[in-house]
């Protein structure tokens, strides 16, 4: 966006308005789930399995119940009486709430203690005696797929293997033909390991059932409160909870990143406990429980092939993936997309033939397949393509920037139909890459690299020119449990010209209270400071599917603009009445209607709002409100060009990210400061899996790093100086031309870093390294190649 339409007082789009919510966050006055204290509230703690796979022979709760202050010990058998011991997952699989006979992963919930306080609950957890009969766990999906592997889901009648589903898309035959005819084919096995989001706030809830009214209120760390309400009504309808009596409240949330989309067993147990006991029950996980038991991300084993002409024109892409889903498919994807948006894997390149297939398997690991700050499996797809493009460049002895330029979808080709079925809305990939190269001084870096290599020094330059797909999504394709993935805004203008707007989304730190207010300020001319934004209470907010997958701006942001337009339509009628002219004679300029040709005759939005309650025209309803449910016509396709420079110590293999330039294009920008902040956060969460994070299991399914001592999160010390800039290519179909940004950097950064390290080692014959790329891994490679003693 080139110019600002509003003054700093109004603070519409393009202003770096300070975040409204920070007034309370910076003072420590945010109100999170764990801050909720209700009269008579009890506390829950969970007994968890020490084994990855075991029969439960017995559970003895006597000693726990004997501890003063313990109210109940809830087991699978207790829940079974209410038929609540299993629950459906979002992907139509089933998940145990509490087991009645078998545990399927280490740290799985086995029983729950309800007690007067958190300390008594923890003591009682230690007093619950569980007798297990351990069985040999199946941890590796490649073992799980073998015909002689034990069948893990014996609860499923007739199940004879561990296969969950097969999914494929694209033209298999044309792709095969293109591979057969290609001059050059490269192939690489790329693994994106299991990782886990690490929000500052863990998951938890306070479930409060009031027996007299039959009403259930749940304060809960959820990114999608409305969907949760409906799920609870569907799952627990048979015990008398009907949807009008269920209220889900998402208070302030300390980070979600996808990990707070699923319904975890702990929520259901706490709700059941509150209903049974008739008192509020609080459950808040500790850090280790969060890391070990909540839904993971990634865990895709991808076999990636790319075919090209000898001149480097990419002709076909084929990816075959083995997906490790743990013991149940509890992924949070749109219903029709078991592999999420993985088919964005042709990336930013004009590849006419593509085919991708995937098989998902059960293992004795925690369930999930949620996002880690990315739109449904886009990170996996982009890592595959961005790695294999570099492998091709290496094979052809081409500069990876040059090869990308040759194969980009060109700016005039938009809207572009990809081989795997997406319609990319807009893009200018060469411009973004050129800006990145100019910013970092690409040609000079290549010269420096050649000089250093001659001296035995290790330096690498890595590129990532990614395309994201966000904003799910159009109702014809996107639903969760049948509920279409629209989102909503309900807008009310008060008599004094101030406003409140409520949304079906839920901020977890994204800054919605500011950006939504700025959108409305842009469209109505009411100062953003005077627009109150509310989300997260299902009794007051309009229905929506929540915040994840960078969908808030593409869906609810658009709904805000549309609701504002409806208000403006009514305001025009009122203004015509006040100015005694016809509606057609009025012209809108931000904040007021004026009479065409006579701009001194005007009514501000504030005048009109007052009139809507004090002097509304005959025949028109009083008040000034509107609601809009926005069903996007398409997804949005943000993109970016990242370049990373690394230096590697040739003896100790320590890796230093010397520079990292990130050019992002998320279309029109609502608040540049918030976008900048999102990119810094996202890049750091891209650095993390690239160099630090991985959940590691031994062959018995024991997690080896289920705490922050060994599950490594980078700190400010490890984080390089991010150099950011942008191009702006508006979305043609979004009412504001915006696209969503929060996840682009998490998607784009890992391959840039991986490519840089591989580039530093390429002269030794290294083609690929799987993330996280640690100094130890690099040292092993140097050792294998004889580069260290």
């Amino acid at each position: 966006m080139s110019e600002l339409k509003t003054t700093p007082e109004v603070c519409g789009m393009g202003h770096s308005m300070k975040r409204k919510e920070d007034a309370r966050f910076l003072r420590g006055q945010g109100k999170y789930t764990d801050d909720v204290v209700l009269p008579g509230m009890l506390h829950m703690d969970i007994v968890r399995s020490p084994y990855a796979y075991a029969k439960i022979k017995s559970i003895n709760t006597d000693a726990a119940m004997a501890i003063p202050g313990v109210h109940a010990v809830i087991t699978g058998d207790v829940l079974k009486q209410y038929n609540l011991h299993w629950m459906p997952t979002l992907m139509s699989d089933t998940q145990m709430v509490l087991p009645t006979d078998t545990v399927m992963y280490q740290s799985q919930e086995v029983a729950a203690v309800i007690a007067d306080d958190r300390y008594i609950a923890a003591d009682a957890v230690e007093a619950v005696e569980v007798e297990y009969e351990p069985m040999q766990a199946v941890v590796d999906p490649f073992k799980s797929m073998q015909s002689d592997a034990p069948v893990l889901r014996t609860d499923k009648e007739g199940k004879t293997d561990n296969h969950i589903w097969h999914w494929e898309t694209g033209d298999k035959d044309s792709t095969e033909k293109a591979f057969q005819n290609a001059d050059v084919v490269v192939k690489e096995n790329v693994y994106l390991p299991r990782i886990h989001v690490a929000s500052i706030e863990t998951c938890g809830c306070v479930a409060s059932f009031e027996p007299a009214e039959g009403k259930l209120t749940v304060y809960m760390t959820t990114q999608a409160p409305h969907a949760i309400r409906t799920v609870v009504a569907l799952v627990a309808g048979h015990v008398g909870l009907s949807e009008e009596k269920i209220r889900i409240i998402s208070p302030d949330i300390g980070g979600g990143f996808g990990g707070k989309v699923p319904v975890y067993p702990g929520y259901v147990i706490a709700i059941a406990a509150s209903v049974v006991i008739g008192k509020p029950v609080k459950w808040v996980e500790d850090r280790s429980e969060n890391l070990q038991a909540d839904s993971f991300a990634r865990d895709y084993h991808m076999s990636v092939e790319l075919a090209s002409s000898s001149s480097g024109k990419m002709e076909a892409l084929r990816i075959k993936t083995v997906a490790d889903h743990g013991y149940t498919d509890a992924a949070a994807n749109p219903s029709k997309y078991p592999a999420g948006m993985f088919s964005i894997c042709t990336g930013s390149y004009d590849i006419k033939n593509a085919f991708t297939e995937m098989d998902a398997y059960y293992t004795n690991k925690p369930p999930g397949g949620v996002a880690y700050r990315c739109s449904f499996r886009v990170t996996e797809a982009i890592h595959a393509i961005e790695r294999i493009v570099d492998v091709l460049a290496q094979k052809l002895d081409r500069d990876p920037a040059d090869l990308r330029m040759q194969n980009f979808i060109q700016p005039e080709a938009f809207p572009y139909q990809s081989a795997l079925g997406w319609e990319y809305d807009s893009g200018d990939y060469p411009r973004a890459l050129k800006l990145a190269m100019d910013t970092i001084g690409y040609d000079d870096l290549r010269k420096e690299q050649a000089e250093k290599r001659a001296k035995g020094e290790l330096m690498g330059i890595g590129l990532s020119t990614f395309t994201e797909v966000v904003g799910a999504g159009p109702s014809k394709d996107f639903d969760i449990l049948g509920i279409k993935m629209f989102d909503s805004c309900e807008l009310r203008i008060h008599p004094t010209g101030k406003a409140i707007a409520r949304f079906g989304t839920k901020s977890q730190g994204q800054g919605h209270e500011t950006t939504y207010a700025q959108i409305l300020a842009e469209e109505l001319g009411i100062p953003a400071a005077h627009i109150q934004i509310e989300e997260g209470d299902t009794d007051t907010a309009p229905y929506g599917l929540g915040t994840y997958a960078s969908r808030s701006t593409p869906t609810a942001g658009a709904a805000a603009a549309k609701a504002a337009h409806k208000v403006r339509d009514k305001a025009r009628k009122i203004a015509a009445h006040l100015l005694e002219v016809s509606e057609e004679d009025l012209e809108w300029e931000v904040g007021k209607f004026y009479v065409k040709g006579s701009p001194e005759q005007s009514k501000t939005i504030q005048d009109i709002a007052f009139a809507a309650y004090t002097n509304h025209p005959q025949g028109l309803e009083a008040g000034l409100e509107a609601t809009h449910y926005y069903d996007p016509p398409n997804l949005t396709f943000p993109f970016g060009s990242y370049i990373c420079v690394v230096d590697i110590d040739p003896k100790t293999a320590e890796i230093k990210v010397r520079r990292f330039v990130a050019i992002d294009d998320c279309g029109n920008i609502i608040n540049p400061m918030i976008v900048e902040g999102q990119i810094h956060g996202g890049l750091t969460q891209g650095l993390a899996p690239a160099m630090y994070e991985e959940l590691i299991y031994d062959e018995d399914g024991n997690i080896l790093n289920g705490n922050f001592m060994d599950y490594l999160l980078p700190t400010a010390v490890e984080t390089p100086n991010w150099e950011t800039d942008r191009t702006v290519t508006p979305s043609p179909h979004h009412p504001l031309g915006a696209k969503g940004v929060a996840e682009s950097p998490t998607v784009g950064a890992p391959p840039a870093i991986a490519n840089a390290v591989v580039d530093a080692l390429s002269h030794l014959g290294v083609e690929n390294m799987d993330i996280p790329i640690t100094p130890y891994k690099v040292w092993q490679v140097l050792k294998e190649k004889g580069a260290v003693a």
Partner: protein
């Protein structure tokens, strides 16, 4: 932290603290800065019935040089080492170490005495104290005794402290002129324990030859390790690149690392080898600079 219930005791002097240790035996733990004990209690790996908090005891927080020794009170926090003018001007090894222990917020709480008394070979001060040839002072029911650092870590997570003794002071010989030291550590991220780390303290004569040298190794064995073969090799020598390489090789051979999430034993030995050479070089440079 959700620990089991325990009794929290706050003695106001060392002899009261010692008396409490005598009374409660192995059910009691001393709480200094708490940055090893509290995480263990959080995970219920440590479940002391009595927590004896000695932070209220005055007179254990000092850094002073007297009679040819640097004396550090056991309750001196790591951040105080970083800020100490004496440490900054004369003890580069201690300064390096203080800057590499955990992270700034931990260093504001964690104490030098606790770092040693915990007996963890992954902690940083044990190796640096080996290099500095320090000793510690322990106070028990029969008064005080001085324990040489080489005798202080007999076994894995074990110290020479009796059950009713408290570590009160660390004594480090003041370095002669033309001394230098360095601590080099490879960690997976800031605040992590070392994959391997090497502490070096040396002084040189007028010709540049090494008069005395101490080398300590962190987290590459069940106890902190003195790289004595390398020390012997270098004493009285003016090492060239080949001799440094040999010193690195000897130090690596003296280490006894185990494979863990930080890497294989072979990798850790390679790190010890390289870090030893670099630590000696840096110490020599610093020694030259301090002439």
């Amino acid at each position: 932290m959700i620990p089991p219930s325990f009794e929290y005791l706050t003695p106001s002097n060392i002899s009261d603290a010692v008396a409490l240790l005598q009374k409660h035996g192995d059910e009691a733990k001393i709480l200094a800065g708490g940055h090893s004990l509290i995480p263990a209690m959080r995970l219920r790996l440590a479940e002391p019935g009595y927590l004896i908090d000695i932070s209220g005891i005055g007179g254990l927080d000092y850094i002073q040089e007297e009679s040819g020794q640097l004396r550090i009170g056991a309750m001196t926090c790591e951040a105080a080492l970083e800020e100490s003018e004496i440490v900054q001007s004369k003890y580069p090894l201690l300064l390096d170490t203080a800057k590499m222990i955990a992270d700034p917020s931990v260093r504001n709480m964690a104490t030098v005495g606790g770092n040693l008394a915990h007996g963890d070979p992954a902690n940083d001060h044990p190796a640096t104290m080996l290099a500095l040839r320090a000793s510690v002072v322990a106070e028990g029911p029969n008064g005080t005794r001085e324990i040489k650092i080489d005798d202080f870590f007999p076994d894995f997570f074990t110290t020479a402290l009796a059950e009713d003794e408290i570590l009160t002071e660390i004594r480090i010989p003041s370095p002669p002129s033309a001394s230098g030291g360095a601590y080099l550590k490879i960690e997976r991220k800031v605040g992590d324990y070392a994959a391997a780390a090497v502490a070096c303290q040396l002084n040189i004569d007028s010709s540049g030859s090494i008069e005395n040298i101490g080398l300590g190794l962190t987290n590459v064995g069940s106890t902190p390790i003195r790289a004595s073969s390398a020390e012997e090799l270098l004493k009285g020598k003016k090492p060239d690149e080949n001799m440094l390489a040999e010193a690195g090789r000897l130090a690596a051979a003296d280490s006894e690392p185990m494979e863990d999430l930080r890497g294989s034993a072979e990798y850790k030995r390679a790190l010890v080898n390289e870090l030893t050479q670099r630590a000696i070089k840096l110490s020599l440079q610093r020694a030259e600079g301090s002439r």
